[in-house]
């Protein structure tokens, strides 16, 4: 019986968003619909301003390929956001795994998919190891993944300078070039072929989304991850093996980062230490814009695709309009702030309407 019942200030709530809990069941899907509307609106806008925006081969194909890669990056972050953690090393885990894939192809001459598998295992291992450190020490995931980022950044560069001449594994196993270039136009049923705008690489993203989506919506483990993110004490007291779930979430993050690294390397044509260097910010943008909470407990897989699409469409659209890189980031930052503020305003309004916190 405490005499004082003072709300903890924002500085102290784990992610400062204690008030951002979404108590309205349909708020998430409303957010996704509005995202979709905004994306379509932007596509129409960019297309009407600059018809080249609809060029299938030069604009849409690379745009969709970017969306494919960065959605997987977003999912890698989503995996740890679901338990209320962060993975700042998401890019470096991709680089670490890509390094193994590069070695598998160049040094051990393995086929494409065996190499991918090795990379996924490497990613899951480093992610799981990170998760284990967090679970065993109880130290904030931010610190641990930040330190891991440093360590991997150094390690990966060391290995590349040790094993390669030009800091890149360039061996291309059979099928890699096709994977990069093929679109649905190369898939024909009789005379009917698909659109040349849709890269076949999107398949990886769809598989990843399906698996992650299945996990969170249909399985015990996925639900338990969300509960760990919601309230780890209550989860522990309800019999959820919380340590295993924390390790699992980080392992999944590592594996997804590995997949994203693979897709990026295939796009670029070589495996370098720089892979994943640009992953960190987009990895948060996609899920957060799509409705995944930083505090854990709520994820949206489709939202991650939409959030990532929004960012990439804006990026591509502004580039097509000839707006330079410099303004791009300004717009992206402003949009991010606006999107989050409106979200916050909406939840405040929802709370005022008599929903008890």
């Amino acid at each position: 019986m405490s005499a004082v019942d003072v709300k903890p200030p924002a500085a102290k709530t784990r992610a400062g968003t204690g008030g951002r809990r979404r108590f309205h069941p349909s708020a998430g899907s409303a957010q996704r619909w509005s995202l979709l509307v905004v994306i379509i609106g932007l596509v129409v806008l960019f297309g009407s301003l600059q018809s080249a925006f609809y060029n299938e081969k030069l604009i849409v194909f690379p745009l969709l390929r970017e969306i494919a890669v960065f959605t997987v990056v977003g999912l890698a972050q989503l995996a740890v956001l679901s338990i209320g953690h962060m993975n700042l090393a998401v890019g470096r885990m991709a680089a670490f795994s890509a390094m193994f894939m590069g070695m598998a192809y160049e040094l051990w001459h393995m086929p494409l998919y065996v190499g991918l598998l090795i990379g996924l295992v490497a990613g899951a291992s480093i992610g799981g190891f990170t998760g284990w450190i967090i679970a065993a020490t109880g130290v904030n995931s931010f610190v641990v993944t930040l330190a891991m980022d440093f360590a991997l950044l150094g390690l990966v560069s060391l290995v590349y300078s040790e094993f390669t001449a030009a800091a890149a594994f360039t061996a291309k196993p059979a099928g890699m070039d096709e994977m990069r270039n093929l679109s649905l136009a190369d898939l024909c049923a009789g005379d009917v072929c698909g659109s040349p705008a849709v890269p076949q690489m999107l398949v990886f993203t769809l598989i990843a989304m399906a698996l992650v989506g299945y996990l969170y919506s249909r399985t015990r483990i996925g639900r338990e991850l969300l509960l760990v993110g919601s309230n780890i004490t209550a989860a522990e007291l309800s019999g959820v093996p919380t340590v295993r779930r924390v390790v699992g979430a980080h392992a999944m993050s590592g594996a997804l980062a590995a997949l994203a690294g693979f897709m990026l390397a295939v796009t670029a044509g070589s495996f370098t230490a720089g892979i994943g260097g640009e992953f960190m910010i987009p990895s948060f943008l996609g899920p957060v814009l799509g409705g995944t909470l930083l505090t854990g407990g709520v994820v949206s897989i489709v939202g991650t695709l939409l959030g990532t699409s929004l960012v990439q469409v804006i990026r591509q659209g502004l580039t097509t309009l000839g707006i330079g890189l410099e303004n791009l980031n300004i717009y992206l930052g402003v949009i991010l702030l606006l999107a989050l503020s409106t979200d916050r305003i909406r939840s405040v309004v929802a709370e005022r309407k008599g929903v008890k916190p």
């Binding site: 019986m1 005499a3 108590f23 249909r218 399985t219 309230n231 007291l237 019999g239 407990g297």
Partner: protein, 504 residues
């Protein structure tokens, strides 16, 4: 007494949605005295404290401090006005020095800089008043709980004209020796003219120190500023619980005492500090675990669930020695469930739908080989328990949207869904209105009647007498004895309180 009261609360009222927490309570404190504020859980004591300390604003009535009517807007307002508060939990900045913590609310400054000399001097003066000898420059994190508490008392005295000092359950974390020390300090303060308002569950210390007493019951003051010397412990207890509590009219339920217990603790000692705790629960039996705050009951429950180290003795479930490492094992292998006391922080996932909240314990059972959990099955289970417990909400609503009573039902529902055979229920009706409380009692009764073994932890004595078959009394992490419940309130409560206050 003819002197002007230092603190006068008249006809205080506070209404929460659906509950009238205070209905015209009066409190009169004379200067230089120790006044005890007593009452059972839910009597309105904490609401009263929150009004006096500026956390809540009253809906009616007035608060007068030293002849001046006051309207506090924040806890800080109350402190500045001269109402010093020492909360039940420690509120200090661990890294800061003793002196700085004491003067944090009004750091003496010269040109924007902390005037350390003035700070030390003021702190020293206050510490001298209570006779505490600690290094002023030592960080508070290096002090014991008792020392920190005394520092907080001294802090309250640094407010230049602190007239009233409110102590909320000040001894709940203290040993007996430390308690004695605290009581000495309180006497000294009183003799120096400070008025103390003591809120405590521990009647022995109330009788040891208090001059006058106000007793609250059901949001009303049933005894107002009466000299304590006129009453016996028993009379005060009667006033607190009222005569209206009578044995429940639940259908009779008998326990077969001949059968073997399903849960036995055999001379259990834990890392927390429990020593030789033995108790047993049979099928269909409700065993109460009574004790004052800090007696180690919740900690005992958590040790049984594998959340604390067992350093001696053992646990037997259905006659077999078991080793429980975590809640998963307790639930999956031994069918033990635990409904925690603090439903918001430990029992519920507030931002998740009821389905998730209820089904969390059954996923392990209903999933298939691939970990697939059928949504339909999950929803059916959730709906079943929403129905059965009369939870007034749809399964897809979020737990955070529910009222306290419904939340508590959800917290219980997951263990029913898990088919528990042994259920440990910790303070099930704290902060729940009277009608829901009765429904809850009936529910627990029925569960036992259906054959569940229940270990009931509650500080609410009437509730205990209503429900329990036997009452195990704990104090300082040990079992003091067991009382057979006759379901006659006066008789059982006297026996229980006798055990609680029994000198060792």
């Amino acid at each position: 007494m003819t002197t002007q009261p230092i603190l006068l609360a008249e006809k205080l009222e506070k209404v929460f949605p659906g509950v009238r927490a205070l209905g015209g309570v009066n409190l009169t404190m004379a200067p230089g005295s120790v006044h005890a504020l007593l009452g059972e859980n839910g009597a309105g004591k904490s609401t009263m404290i929150k009004i006096i300390t500026g956390v809540y604003r009253p809906d009616g009535g007035s608060l007068t401090l030293n002849g001046v009517e006051r309207h506090f807007k924040s806890p800080h307002d109350a402190v500045i006005a001269g109402i010093g508060v020492v909360h039940q939990e420690r509120n200090v900045v661990p890294e800061f020095s003793v002196a700085e913590n004491m003067l944090l609310h009004q750091l003496p400054a010269k040109a924007g800089l902390v005037d350390r000399e003035a700070m030390r001097e003021q702190a020293r003066r206050a510490l001298d008043m209570i006779g505490l000898d600690v290094d002023l420059d030592e960080p508070v994190k290096g002090l014991s709980v008792a020392q920190t508490q005394l520092v907080e008392i001294a802090k309250a005295l640094t407010t230049t004209d602190s007239k009233v000092l409110l102590l909320d359950e000040p001894t709940s974390a203290l040993t007996l020796a430390e308690t004695d020390r605290l009581l000495d300090v309180m006497r000294k303060l009183r003799d120096n003219g400070t008025s103390l308002l003591l809120v405590s569950h521990k009647l022995e210390e109330v009788f040891a120190i208090a001059d006058t007493v106000t007793v609250l019951r059901d949001g009303e003051s049933v005894l107002e500023a009466a000299p304590l010397g006129r009453f016996t412990t028993g009379e005060i207890v009667d006033l607190m619980v009222g005569r209206s509590h009578k044995a429940s009219d639940f259908p009779a339920r008998s326990v077969d005492r001949a059968q073997a217990p399903v849960l036995e603790l055999d001379a259990l000692s834990t890392g927390f500090g429990h020593r030789d705790v033995s108790l047993d629960v049979r099928r269909g039996e409700i065993v109460g675990l009574y004790g004052l705050v800090g007696a180690g009951r919740t900690e005992l429950a958590k040790a049984v669930l594998g959340l604390d180290r067992i350093v001696g003795g053992g646990i037997r479930v259905a006659g077999k020695d078991v080793k429980i490492d975590n809640v998963g094992t307790a639930l999956g292998r031994h069918h033990i469930g635990y409904v925690p006391e603090n439903r918001k922080t430990e029992g519920l996932f507030l931002d998740q739908p009821l389905t998730m909240n209820i089904a969390v314990t059954v996923w392990a059972r209903i999933r298939n080989f691939f970990g697939y959990v059928a949504k339909r099955r999950e929803r059916d289970i959730a709906e079943h328990y929403v129905d059965r417990l009369g939870i007034k909400a749809a399964p897809r609503q979020f737990a955070g949207q529910l009222s306290g009573g419904n939340q508590q039902k959800v917290s219980l529902a997951k263990w029913l869904a898990a088919d528990c055979e042994i259920l440990i229920i910790d303070e099930p009706t704290v902060g729940i209105d009277v009608r829901t409380k009765a429904a809850f009692h009936e529910l627990i009764w029925d569960l036992a009647a259906d054959g569940m073994a229940i270990l009931l932890i509650t500080s609410d004595l009437p509730e205990m007498v209503t429900l329990a078959d036997r009452i195990v009394v704990m104090r300082d992490s040990r079992v003091m004895g067991t009382v057979e419940n006759s379901h006659h309130y006066g008789e059982t409560s006297k026996a229980v309180i006798g055990l609680v206050h029994q000198t060792v």
